[in-house]
C-alpha cells in the first residue's frame, strides 16, 4: 500500500488502453419507481424504509453512505427499461462516468453522469435538476467503456468503467509496471455479502461497512457515497466470487441496509490478482471529485 498522494489526482495517468477502438452507443431508459422496503435487522427489528429506485434528492455523492434511515438507497435517479433485453443492454453497456441526458419532462436537456449499478443504472444530476426529475422521465445514456482493457495487462479486467474514469482513478504506474489505483477504503474479505454469484458487469456487491478500513493505516473508514474502494480476496472477472489473492475495485453507489448479509453497495470497476495492481490510499478517490469532461 502506498502513501497518500499530495494535491489530488494526477492530470493524466500513464496508462495506455484500447479506448480508441471502443464503440459509443446511445441507450434510452426510464426513471424507475421508488420502493418502500420491508426489512428485518439481525436483532429481529422490522422496519419499512425508503429503498431503491425513484429519484434520491439527498444524500448525494460525497455524503455518508451509512448514516441514513434507508435501505439500499440509490444515488441520483435510478434508470431501467421495461423490455428485459433492452434493460440487460443498459445494465451491461452503461459505464460509471458515462454522460446521461434527460430527454423529457421539466429537466429535459440537463446532463448528468452514471455513478453506479444496482438493479437499475444509477445516474446523478445537479441537485436543482434532481428536484425536477421524476419516475417515468426518459433519459439517454451515452454508453462507452464496455471492452476496455489496459494495454499489456491481460489479467486486469475492467467492467462498467468509462475510460476517462479509469485514467482518473489511476495514479500512474509503479516502476515495475503495475498500474496504481487510488482507493479511499479497503474492505476485508469477510465483508462480502449479497451480490456474490451475480454477474460482475451488472448489479453490485454488498459490503459490511464495519469491515472497512483506511488503506495502509487500518483505522476505520468513513464511507461516502461515490468512494472508490477495494475488497480483498474477490475475483470479479465473470460472476463475483471469493478467490484468495485477488481483489476487486469499485464505486460505492448504494447506501447501507439494516438486513444481515447486506450493506453498502460496490459496483465493480476492476478486478485483478492482488500482485498485479498497486492500491494507493487517497481519501479524495471519490466520484464527488471526478469531472469527466476535464478528464477526456
Amino acid at each position: 500500500m502506498g502513501t497518500e498522494l499530495p494535491g489530488g489526482p494526477p492530470a493524466a495517468a500513464d496508462l495506455p488502453t484500447n479506448a480508441s477502438s471502443l464503440v459509443r452507443t446511445r441507450l434510452t431508459g426510464l426513471v424507475t419507481a421508488a420502493s418502500a422496503n420491508a426489512v428485518v435487522s439481525p436483532a429481529g427489528l422490522a422496519q419499512v424504509l425508503p429503498g431503491q429506485g425513484g429519484v434520491l434528492i439527498s444524500p448525494t455523492l460525497g455524503e455518508a453512505a451509512t448514516d441514513w434511515q434507508s435501505d439500499h438507497l440509490e444515488v441520483g435517479a435510478s434508470v431501467g427499461h421495461a423490455d428485459p433485453a433492452a434493460d440487460q443492454a443498459l445494465q451491461i453497456l452503461a459505464c460509471v462516468g458515462n454522460r446521461a441526458v434527460v430527454l423529457d419532462g421539466p429537466a429535459a436537456s440537463v446532463s448528468g453522469m452514471v455513478v453506479g449499478k444496482h438493479g437499475a443504472v444509477l445516474v446523478t444530476f445537479p441537485r436543482s435538476a434532481l428536484r425536477l426529475i421524476g419516475p417515468g422521465d426518459q433519459l439517454v445514456i451515452e454508453a462507452f467503456g464496455a471492452g476496455l482493457q489496459i494495454t499489456g495487462q491481460d489479467q486486469v479486467v475492467l467492467h462498467s468503467c468509462d475510460p476517462a474514469l479509469l485514467g482518473w482513478m489511476a495514479g500512474g504506474r509503479e516502476p515495475d509496471g503495475r498500474p496504481r489505483i487510488r482507493v479511499a477504503a479497503l474492505f476485508a474479505r469477510e465483508a462480502a455479502g449479497a451480490g456474490l454469484g451475480m454477474s460482475a458487469r451488472r448489479f453490485n456487491l454488498d459490503l459490511d461497512p464495519a469491515l472497512a478500513s483506511r488503506p495502509g493505516t487500518g483505522a476505520a473508514a468513513a464511507l461516502r457515497l461515490g468512494d472508490i474502494v477495494a475488497v480483498l480476496d474477490q475475483d470479479h472477472r465473470r460472476e463475483r466470487r471469493f478467490r484468495a489473492g485477488w481483489l476487486a475495485v469499485g464505486v460505492l453507489c448504494h447506501g447501507r441496509s439494516a438486513a444481515g448479509g447486506h450493506g453498502v453497495g460496490m459496483a465493480t470497476l476492476l478486478s485483478a490478482p492482488a500482485d498485479r495492481i498497486s492500491l494507493v490510499a487517497d481519501s479524495e478517490a471519490s466520484l464527488r471529485a471526478f469531472r469527466p469532461e476535464a478528464s477526456r
Binding site: 439481525p42 469477510e190 454469484g197 454488498d206 466470487r241 471469493f242 444481515g260
Partner: protein
C-alpha cells in the same frame, strides 16, 4: 444424552398449491467464448436423480433431485406462500390426489428483480417421476412454520418439518444441542444466497479449496461457521448454521453445491461434530417411497 423437546403439537398443516416447474435455461445457449456449458438443472423433472446420489455423479447446473415445484404465478415466480411455508419432509400429492413424494430441498431467491425462480425439490420414486409433467398441479401439505425447541431458545429452526427434525442426528449433551454433520465450511466459502431469508432458497458453497476431496451427496448435513440464519443469512462471528445439501454444483463463478438452512444458533448453544450418520439422503428417499403408507407427519 437425549433428543430435544419440540412444540410440534401446536403446529398447523396447510395445503398449499404449486405447479411442477418448467425446465428453464439461463446463460449462453451456445456455450461459446469460454463461457460455461449449458447444462440442465433449473426446473423440470430429473428422473433418476435421487437423495443420496453423489453430487458429482451428474452433469447438471444447480441440479436438484426429482421434480421441481414452484408457486403458481404469472411470469417468473418469486418466493410465494408455497415456497415460504414448505418445509423439508412435507408430503406432496398430485392434483389428482395421488401421493408423489416429499420436499427435500429449496433453491433460488437471490433478491427481487435479480432472481431465478424459487424452487422446491420433490423426491419421488422414478415410476412416478416418469409420469409427472411440467405445469401439472401439485399440493404440498406444508407443516413446520413455528417449530422450535423450547429448551434451546437461542436456536432458530428453518425449513424443518417434524418428520425431518426426527431424521436429524441431534443430541442434547449437558444442555447443549449437538448436531452431526458430514462437512464443515468457513464463512468465506459461502457465496450466493447471503443476505436472503433462510426460508427462501439456499446458500451456495463456492470455494473449490474448501470443497476439495469432500464428495458430497444429496442429503448430506453440513455446518458453516460464523453464519447466522435467524433473520436472513449473514456472517456473524460466534454463530453456526447447519443445512442440507440439496442442489449440485453450478457452472458460474460464485456458485456451487446448495445448502438449505435447517438451524442456526450461537456456537455456545449448538455444537457440530463430524460423522457418517449425517448423510440423510437414503432416509429421505425412503421417506418419499413410504409416504403413501405414512398416516401423518405429526404422529410422534
Amino acid at each position: 444424552m437425549s433428543r430435544p423437546r419440540d412444540n410440534r403439537a401446536a403446529l398447523v398443516t396447510v395445503a398449499a398449491e404449486g405447479i411442477v416447474a418448467p425446465a428453464r435455461c439461463y446463460g449462453d445457449p451456445a456455450g461459446t467464448a469460454g463461457g460455461p456449458p449449458l447444462l440442465p438443472g433449473c426446473g423440470g423433472v430429473a428422473v433418476g436423480v435421487h437423495m443420496g446420489d453423489e453430487l458429482d455423479s451428474w452433469l447438471g447446473d444447480h441440479l436438484m433431485p426429482g421434480a421441481c415445484v414452484e408457486d403458481r404465478a404469472d411470469g417468473q415466480p418469486g418466493p410465494g406462500s408455497l415456497h415460504l411455508l414448505a418445509c423439508l419432509g412435507n408430503r406432496v400429492r398430485l392434483g389428482s390426489g395421488e401421493q408423489l413424494g416429499v420436499v427435500v430441498g429449496k433453491r433460488g431467491g437471490l433478491a427481487p428483480g435479480f432472481l431465478p425462480p424459487s424452487l422446491l425439490a420433490v423426491e419421488a420414486p422414478d415410476a412416478l417421476l416418469e409420469r409427472v409433467c411440467p405445469g401439472q398441479r401439485v399440493i404440498v401439505e406444508t407443516l413446520g412454520r413455528g417449530l422450535l425447541l423450547p429448551d434451546h431458545p437461542g436456536v432458530c429452526l428453518a425449513n424443518l418439518s417434524p418428520a425431518m427434525l426426527d431424521l436429524l442426528p441431534l443430541a442434547v449433551r449437558a444442555g447443549r444441542l449437538e448436531v452431526t454433520v458430514r462437512a464443515w465450511f468457513p464463512p468465506w466459502a459461502v457465496s450466493t444466497g447471503i443476505g436472503q431469508d433462510a426460508w427462501i432458497g439456499d446458500v451456495d458453497i463456492a470455494d473449490e479449496e474448501a470443497l476439495a476431496g469432500r464428495s458430497l451427496r444429496y442429503g448430506d448435513l453440513v455446518g458453516i461457521s460464523e453464519l447466522d440464519s435467524s433473520a436472513g443469512r449473514f456472517r456473524r462471528p460466534g454463530y453456526v448454521s447447519v443445512g442440507l445439501v440439496c442442489h449440485g454444483p453450478g457452472t458460474q463463478d460464485g456458485h456451487g453445491p446448495g445448502v438449505c438452512i435447517l438451524l442456526s444458533g450461537p456456537a455456545d448453544e449448538v455444537t457440530c461434530v463430524q460423522g457418517a450418520e449425517a448423510s440423510l439422503g437414503p432416509l429421505l428417499a425412503e421417506l418419499a417411497v413410504g409416504c403413501n403408507s405414512r398416516p401423518s407427519d405429526k404422529g410422534s
